[in-house]
C-alpha cells in the first residue's frame, strides 16, 4: 500500500484562530506542520483516508520574537530558522545545537519545533535542551489557552498531554538570569547526520564564590519513555563544590531518573555507561 492522495481531505486554515475553530469541529483531523514525521508513515500507506489540518497557511505561528523576558518561538518555526535567529543563538545555544543535529539540511528546512514536541518521540533531540531552559509550551484549543511547562507535555512514548482539538501555538524560552559557566549539548548516534539518538544530553552549570555550584540542570533523551531532567543528580550538586565525592554521587544518582531500554540501536548498559561518562566529564570540566 502507498499513500493515496485522493482518499485525503484537507482543511486549510489561513490563521491561528481559523485553525483552532476547524480543529475544534473535527478533532479527528491530523495537524500537519513540516510533515517530516507524518509523511514518512503516510508514504507507507498507513494513514490513508484521514482529514488533514494543513497549518502551512498560518503565518503567525512561524514567527520567532525576542521580548524583554525571553524569546517566543512560533510552533511552526523550522529547525533551520531557529538555528539562524540571532537572539536564540546568543541566549539558547543548546537549542541551536540540538536543531543542527535534526536529520540533515532538508529535514531542518521543513521540520518544526511544534512538530518535534507534538510527535513526542523518546528520541526527540530538542527535548533535553528545552528541559534545561525550562521552556513553556503555549497551546490553544476551543476551551482556551494553556501554558504548560515542557516537563508536563510528554505523557509517554509518542504521547502528549494535549487534549482533543488542542494545538501548540508557540514555545516560550525564558532568559536565564545569569550566564552559565559551562554548558553542554551532546548527541550520540551511529553517524553524524540523519541518525536517531542512542542518547542525547544537555546541561548548564553555574559556579559561584569559592567554586560552589549555584545552578545545575541536566537532561537526557532516549533514556526513558520521555526525555527527563536528572533532578536527583542535580540536587547532589547544587550548593556544593565539585569534589570527586560530589561528582561520584551525581553519577550514581543518574540511574534513578532514567529507565533505558535495549533496542535495535543500543543496549541499556551502553546507554547508561555513555550518559554517565558525559555527565562525569561535564562535572569534571573536561568535556
Amino acid at each position: 500500500m502507498r499513500g493515496a492522495p485522493e482518499t485525503m481531505a484537507v482543511l486549510r486554515p489561513k490563521s491561528g484562530a481559523e485553525a483552532v475553530k476547524l480543529y475544534g469541529q473535527q478533532t479527528k483531523a491530523v495537524p500537519l506542520a513540516g510533515g517530516t514525521d507524518f509523511m514518512v508513515l503516510w508514504n507507507l500507506g498507513l494513514l490513508n483516508g484521514r482529514t488533514i489540518l494543513d497549518l502551512s497557511g498560518v503565518r503567525d505561528w512561524r514567527k520567532i520574537a525576542a521580548a524583554r523576558t525571553g524569546v517566543l518561538v512560533g510552533s511552526l518555526a523550522t529547525h533551520a530558522e531557529i538555528g539562524r535567529h540571532p537572539t536564540v543563538r546568543a541566549e539558547f545555544p543548546l537549542l541551536v545545537s540540538a536543531c543542527a543535529t535534526i536529520g540533515a539540511a532538508q529535514i531542518q528546512n521543513r521540520g518544526t519545533l511544534g512538530g518535534n514536541i507534538a510527535n513526542a518521540s523518546p528520541a526527540g533531540d530538542t527535548f533535553p535542551s528545552l528541559l534545561v531552559y525550562e521552556a513553556v509550551v503555549r497551546t490553544v484549543s476551543p476551551r482556551g489557552k494553556r501554558k504548560l511547562p515542557i516537563s508536563e507535555v510528554f505523557a509517554g512514548v509518542k504521547r502528549t498531554t494535549l487534549g482533543p482539538g488542542e494545538l501548540i501555538e508557540a514555545v516560550e524560552l525564558p532568559f536565564l538570569d545569569k550566564r552559565p559557566s559551562r554548558r553542554l549539548f551532546r548527541k550520540v548516534g551511529t553517524r553524524l547526520a540523519q541518525a536517531i539518538s542512542k542518547t542525547v544530553a544537555a546541561g548548564i552549570l553555574r559556579l559561584g564564590k569559592g567554586g560552589v555550584v549555584e545552578d545545575f540542570r541536566f537532561a537526557l533523551g532516549s533514556m526513558a519513555p520521555t526525555a527527563v531532567r536528572l533532578t536527583e543528580a542535580e540536587s547532589a550538586v547544587v550548593g556544593f563544590k565539585l569534589t570527586p565525592a560530589v561528582v561520584d554521587e551525581a553519577c550514581r544518582r543518574l540511574e534513578r531518573s532514567v529507565s533505558p531500554i535495549d533496542d535495535i540501536r543500543s543496549t541499556r548498559e551502553y546507554r547508561l555507561e555513555v550518559s554517565r561518562n558525559i555527565l562525569r566529564s561535564f562535572l569534571e570540566g573536561n568535556q
Binding site: 500537519l32 509523511m39 539540511a105 521543513r110 540523519q194
Partner: protein, 156 residues
C-alpha cells in the same frame, strides 16, 4: 492551486494531498527529480522551496502553494550546462545518476548561499544526500571546483 515552478506560474487542479514529487513528475513533466527512499533519508528527491533544499517526497503539494519551487531542470540543459553541472561532468561527480539531481540542488543552494569550498563543510552540507556509487569523493571535488570557479547553480 497556483505554484511557481522554475520561474513559471503553473496551476494544479488535482488532489491537494498529492506529493510535490509526483506533481512535478506526473503533472508538470519534470522528471529530473528522482524518488529513492520515500522516507526523507536519501535526498534524491531534493528540490528548492524558496531557495532552501527540501525533500519533495515528504511534501503534500497543498503545503507549498504560492512558494517558489526550483528543480534540476532550472539549472541548465544538455546544450548549455550550468557551471556546477559542468564540474560534475569534469570531476566524475555522477555515475548512475540517481542521486545527482538531488546533489545538484543541495549544492546549488550551498553555492548561492556563499558556502565554502572546504571538503569537510561540503560533506556536511550534503549529509542529507546519499550516493551508493561514487564514494562521495568525486562529488565533493565537483562541488569544490564549482565553488572555486565562482560558478553558481544558474547559467551564467
Amino acid at each position: 492551486m497556483k505554484l511557481k515552478v522554475n520561474g513559471k506560474s503553473r496551476s494544479f487542479a488535482g488532489a491537494p494531498f498529492k506529493r510535490l514529487i509526483e506533481v512535478l513528475r506526473e503533472d508538470f513533466g519534470l522528471t529530473g527529480t528522482k524518488e529513492g527512499c520515500g522516507e526523507g533519508e536519501c535526498g534524491a528527491c531534493t528540490v528548492l522551496v524558496d531557495g532552501e533544499p527540501v525533500n519533495s517526497c515528504l511534501i503534500p503539494v497543498c503545503s507549498v502553494e504560492g512558494r517558489r519551487i526550483e528543480t534540476v531542470e532550472s539549472l541548465g540543459n544538455p546544450g548549455k550546462l550550468s557551471p556546477l553541472q559542468e564540474a560534475f561532468m569534469e570531476r566524475g561527480g555522477a555515475q548512475c545518476g540517481i542521486c545527482t539531481p538531488g546533489m545538484l540542488m543541495t549544492a546549488t543552494a550551498w553555492i548561492k548561499g556563499g558556502g565554502s569550498a572546504a571538503p569537510g563543510a561540503i560533506r556536511e552540507c550534503l549529509a542529507g544526500n546519499l550516493c551508493r556509487c561514487t564514494g562521495y569523493q568525486h562529488i565533493v571535488d565537483s562541488v569544490a571546483r564549482a565553488v572555486k570557479g565562482k560558478g553558481g547553480g544558474k547559467r551564467r
